[in-house]
């Protein structure tokens, strides 16, 4: 029995030890090694960038020297414009110097800003199109395919009340080549956008037409999805959860459009902005009233546009003859496919799934992209399914049979169902499906209702998702950089080389840079060379004075007791344990002066050891040397000295 117990204890101990080692490796050594690697890499980068900057600065200087005669000549001959150009070019070159290192040190780890600054130099054209009453331009976004400029601005004098701190101005300029057709189409869409509260104001003059929208910071979905799929292979659980959450936000926005009697018509990843508060649908260029009497057009983006829309448009159908909301739902399904697969649905509803995302998500995508008459009838119906997925702990584990649109019988009506009073007060029922893992399913969720979580929980979930997103993106960026960047590898080797070289250099010259003030001697006192002044500076060992005298006498010295000499010695030389004779030039000179004045061969300072206040050390100062001896060596040498406690 005891043997069995011992074996059991050994097994348990081994398991615990292995687990502890595993935890240590995973949580302690791993981050430390990663940190060391990053530091080395950063040093390498810093050195490479520094070299580049120095080379650039040298080259700039060389160019400046070459241009100097030309500048002087230009000044002499009155070629002001040419001189100005050369000076501006040179100053621009010098301003750029140092940016590489500065950029390396100050580069933000998070999201890069999406907009570029407006050039301060304004041409006549730029100045004219840059003037918008009530707004001050601060930057410019990358233009889309509509031919309009997208300008970032702040409110100035004359801005409407309650205007946000940052806005986007979409400006069409006929003289700048903006197509008239697009201008007319967008101006028509403005009515709808204003009703939805998406446009702050709009205006026009002889050649320009512009409207102002709130600025939504963040990256567009295509960028985020690309980062999410950088590592290749399967999607992480957090990525799937985030994708479903963004789709829910998108559908909620589409629901607002449809309820207001409009459809967006251009739902695609580039028109969805992702930030900490979720997914936001932008670009009002194709917003159309659902009951418009206009003929349907094929505008939109391939792969995110329903083929049925093209067919109907080719047949010459009117907008009011089709249900535009269903085309938006097709696009929403295509966007969800894009988020999950990282690529566009080349085969429409028959596109294959290569990445594991669970049957329920696939079901939702296929239902949204199904034939026009078979897909979700309303955004509320699709939102109910997606909200159900978003509320689940792991959307990949949800079955299609659990989705509200499948489990509900009969199918929901075309209009979004309003929850009854009983529904509102009835809490969704949680049904534990796995007691071991704590997994659960939500039953009795009201279709179309928001996820069954209090707002605080929802906010916490969003915050957690946001943190996960940032962390995942950082990881993926790091892993992508590790895989693809030869420069980083080179930086690592350069950093390693520099660190090793610096370490060798420091070790080699450490003695020179940081000399030991007085080397401890473990040898016997040197043989007598003449008179030696004994100066007792030990606060607790007065008896040591006699003992030291005896030791010096034994080695042939002539100990001297001269009160004047000792007084002068104490006055000129600070008798502390840190006396820097040999290293400190002033102290050395002072010692020599005292010794010469009193015709002494040396001076012995009796002092306490820094480690032990009761121990006795003797610092022997000669004209050109200083040695430290401890009392035990002296005692051995004298043969009769005993230390007193």
């Amino acid at each position: 029995m005891p043997k069995l117990l011992i074996i059991l204890v050994v097994i348990v101990g081994t398991a615990i030890g292995a687990a502890a080692i595993g935890i240590l490796l995973r949580h302690l050594l791993g981050p430390i090694l990663r940190g060391i690697f990053n530091v080395i890499q950063f040093i390498g980068h810093l050195i490479i960038e520094l070299i580049c900057d120095v080379l650039a600065a040298t080259w700039n200087l060389f160019v400046a020297v070459l241009l100097l005669p030309a500048i002087i000549g230009g000044l002499l001959f009155g070629r002001w414009e040419s001189v100005g150009r050369m000076v501006r070019g040179l100053s621009s070159r010098f301003r750029r110097t140092g940016r590489r290192v500065a950029g390396l040190v100050t580069r933000p780890a998070g999201v890069q800003p999406q907009f570029k600054r407006t050039p301060s130099r304004t041409t006549r054209q730029g100045r004219r199109s840059g003037e918008f009453p009530g707004w001050r331009l601060t930057g410019e976004l990358q233009a889309g395919g509509s031919g309009a400029r997208l300008l970032v601005a702040e409110p100035a004098d004359g801005a409407p009340d309650g205007a946000p701190s940052r806005v986007v101005i979409k400006c069409f300029d006929l003289s700048g080549g903006a197509p008239l057709g697009q201008m007319i189409r967008e101006s028509r869409a403005l009515d709808g956008a204003k009703k939805l509260g998406l446009v702050i104001e709009h205006n026009h003059d002889e050649t320009r037409f512009w409207y102002v929208m709130p600025f939504i910071p963040g990256n567009h979905l295509a960028h985020t999805v690309t980062a999410m799929h950088t590592s290749g292979g399967q999607l992480s659980e957090s990525s799937v959860i985030r994708s479903v959450g963004w789709c829910r936000d998108l559908l909620a926005t589409l629901g607002k459009y449809h309820d207001a009697g409009f459809w967006h018509k251009d739902v695609k990843p580039e028109n969805i902005i992702i930030n900490d508060t979720g997914a936001h649908l932008v670009d009002l260029g194709l917003v159309t009233p659902l009951q418009s009497a206009m003929t349907l057009t094929t505008h939109g983006t391939e792969y995110f546009r329903d083929p049925e829309l093209v067919r109907q448009a080719l047949r010459g159908s009117k907008v009011s003859e089709v249900d535009g909301a269903r085309f938006d739902l097709y696009s929403a399904g295509a966007v969800l496919y894009y988020m999950v697969e990282g690529t566009f649905p080349a085969h429409g509803n028959l596109s294959r799934f290569e990445i594991e995302c669970g049957d329920a998500i696939r079901w939702v995508i296929r239902r949204a992209m199904a034939d026009y008459h078979k897909r979700y009838a309303t955004s509320a119906e699709m939102l109910a399914d997606v909200a159900f997925l978003a509320a689940s702990r792991d959307p990949r584990q949800v079955r299609p049979a659990d989705l509200p649109s499948v489990s509900a019988s009969p199918a929901p009506e075309a209009t979004p169902p309003k929850p009854s009073v009983g529904d509102v007060h009835r809490r969704p029922r949680l049904e534990v499906s796995d007691w071991w893992s704590g997994r659960y399913r939500v039953r009795d969720a009201v279709p179309g209702a928001p996820p069954s979580q209090p707002d605080a929980f929802e906010a916490a979930r969003r915050a957690r998702d946001s943190r996960r997103m940032i962390r995942d993106e950082r990881r993926q960026r790091r892993s992508a950089a590790r895989r693809s960047s030869f420069g980083r590898l080179a930086a690592f080797f350069v950093g390693t080389f520099v660190i090793v070289f610096t370490s060798i250099f420091v070790l080699k010259y450490a003695d020179v840079w940081f000399p030991d003030p007085v080397p401890m001697s473990t040898q016997m006192l040197p043989d007598g060379k003449g008179q030696v002044l004994i100066v007792n500076n030990h606060p607790r060992r007065l008896d040591a004075h006699t003992a030291v005298q005896a030791a010096f006498t034994a080695r042939g010295w002539q100990p001297m007791d001269d009160i004047d000499a000792e007084a002068r010695f104490r006055r000129d030389i600070p008798l502390t344990n840190g006396l820097q004779v040999g290293a400190d030039e002033a102290s050395t000179r002072a010692v020599r002066a005292v010794l010469n004045t009193h015709d002494l061969a040396g001076a012995a300072i009796v002092q306490a050891s820094p480690d032990d206040p009761n121990a006795v050390q003797v610092l022997l100062l000669t004209g050109d040397d200083a040695s430290l001896y401890d009392l035990e060596v002296l005692a051995k040498a004298a043969g009769s000295i005993q230390s007193t406690p």
Partner: protein
């Protein structure tokens, strides 16, 4: 020749836009793949897209001269036009380089019969797979959503009947019933598509040779294999 074929050609000649859109949907990916292959890395995605559109534009101009009774495959004729568009693009590029160039080749009816040996079997195989994919697409649009999803999960994704039943929360007999419905629809659409796009007896016999006229099990197996090949080919394009 099947009546569907002749009526479809007539619709193309009548400038029926939905017929042209269907043509684009069925043959567009194949055309792009073939142009990409000929380009051998020298043509970008955008150029290939432009060339495929030019091919269709040239086709619309010469569709009047297409004679289905001469026993030439429509796909072969389409390939000839694509080659013409391609050579035109190459000549234009050379002209841009040298500042001069050759005169573009004119499209001639001789091409209809002169490319038989040049067209490789792989191209014809892809054309057939595109027809099957079009039939699946049409069956998906016309059949019940649940039935087609069951068929997709069970046959195209290769899941077991029990697993599909659990996922969809229905019994296995219900799964079998949905499978039967979807299969019936697929067979109908496949017959329709093959009849529409087949101009020669060899083309009519392709489905039978591929095992698509056998019993249910053989049909499912052959269809899944062709579908996966077609999907992977398109992802390569």
């Amino acid at each position: 020749m099947h009546q569907l074929t002749t009526s479809f050609v007539r619709r193309l000649r009548d400038r029926d836009e939905s017929a042209w859109f269907e043509l684009w949907q069925v043959f567009g990916p194949i055309l792009r793949g073939q142009l990409m292959k000929w380009g051998n890395g020298r043509l970008g995605q955008e150029t290939v897209r432009d060339l495929s559109q030019e091919t269709l534009a040239a086709l619309s101009k010469s569709i009047e001269r297409f004679d289905p009774t001469r026993g030439v495959r429509f796909s072969t004729w389409l390939l000839a036009i694509a080659r013409h568009a391609m050579s035109d693009e190459m000549d234009r590029r050379m002209a841009l380089k040298r500042g001069a160039g050759k005169r573009p080749i004119h499209l001639q009816e001789d091409w209809m019969g002169g490319l038989g040996s040049a067209v490789d079997a792989a191209y014809e195989q892809k054309i057939f797979e595109a027809k099957v994919a079009a039939a699946i697409r049409r069956a998906e649009a016309s059949s019940d959503f649940m039935s087609f999803e069951v068929y997709r999960m069970r046959v195209l994704d290769g899941r077991s009947g029990k697993d599909v039943a659990v996922q969809l929360g229905v019994s296995q007999p219900t799964i079998s019933r949905h499978l039967q419905q979807a299969r019936r629809e697929l067979r109908t659409r496949l017959t329709e598509i093959v009849a529409t796009w087949s101009f020669t007896p060899e083309e009519m016999a392709e489905a039978e040779l591929a095992g698509l006229s056998g019993d249910d099990m053989l049909f499912d197996e052959a269809l899944a294999e062709i579908w996966h090949r077609a999907a992977s080919m398109d992802s390569e394009c």
